[in-house]
């Protein structure tokens, strides 16, 4: 059985080609991660805050705290 012979790699410009390919992949990957972070983390966080404050009742929250006795200036 003849051993398999791999094709000879193109030696000329190996480093430059590797660098070019890696840079392209890194660029696309970083754009992708940034977009993913924006939509899945940053926008979700902003929405969570907006949803919380949309129907937030400051006075109701304050009254609950006041009745719990945590304030010194109002009893």
């Amino acid at each position: 059985m003849a051993p398999e012979v791999l094709p000879k790699p193109r030696m000329r410009g190996l480093l430059a080609r590797r660098l070019r390919n890696h840079m392209a992949v890194a660029f696309v990957l970083s754009l992708g991660v940034a977009a993913l972070y924006k939509f899945r983390v940053a926008d979700r966080r902003k929405k969570a805050y907006a949803d919380f404050y949309r129907n937030y009742d400051v006075m109701k929250d304050f009254e609950e705290m006041r009745k719990a006795g945590i304030f010194q200036s109002v009893k």
């Binding site: 480093l15 430059a16 400051v58 705290m65 006795g69 945590i70 200036s73 109002v74």
Partner: protein, 166 residues
């Protein structure tokens, strides 16, 4: 991966010097713009002065009348059930909710730092200098902080307590 026949790579060297420099400038310019923007338009409705001493804070409410008081940590013997050790003080800083508040912070003696982490506040109290921070709280409650610049033996025992009331 080795490059045994090292030769000129002028184009590559130029690219990977100039390109990162451009990227950094593109990051820095909007960042500086935002930094200066956060300092500008605030229009606070309330100004309070906070003066750091060894080892307590003095607060001055001089906008409407002249209220000045010291805020010392409650010693352990003076704590009541429910009080927080090393955090509670005798006189709390009472502030309004949903109103921009300006804090002017300085020190009488050595460096201190006026900090309330849950409001995202930390400003150094520097003798001979007046630092300013503004904030608008959105939720009522009691907010705690501790001095954040080493200032001597009782540096850990000069906390800050804000009471935010609507």
């Amino acid at each position: 991966l080795t490059n045994t026949s090292i030769s000129d790579a002028q184009e590559m060297e130029t690219i990977w010097t100039i390109l990162p420099a451009i990227i950094l400038i593109l990051i820095a310019l909007p960042s500086l713009r935002i930094l200066y923007l956060t300092d500008e338009i605030n229009d606070p409705s309330f100004t309070i002065k906070s003066i750091g001493h060894q080892w307590y804070w003095t607060y001055e409410y001089t906008d409407y009348g002249g209220l000045i008081f010291n805020s010392y940590m409650l010693p352990p013997l003076f704590l009541e059930p429910g009080d927080l050790r090393l955090l509670d003080v005798d006189n709390r800083v009472v502030l309004p909710v949903e109103a921009p508040v300006r804090m002017m912070i300085t020190s009488q003696d050595v460096l201190h730092s006026w900090t309330v982490p849950s409001l995202g506040l930390k400003t150094d109290a520097i003798p001979g200098r007046l630092n300013q921070t503004t904030f608008t709280a959105t939720r009522p409650g009691v907010y705690y902080g501790q001095c954040s610049e080493i200032c001597g033996a009782n540096h850990s025992f000069m906390p800050i307590v804000l009471e935010l009331i609507p």
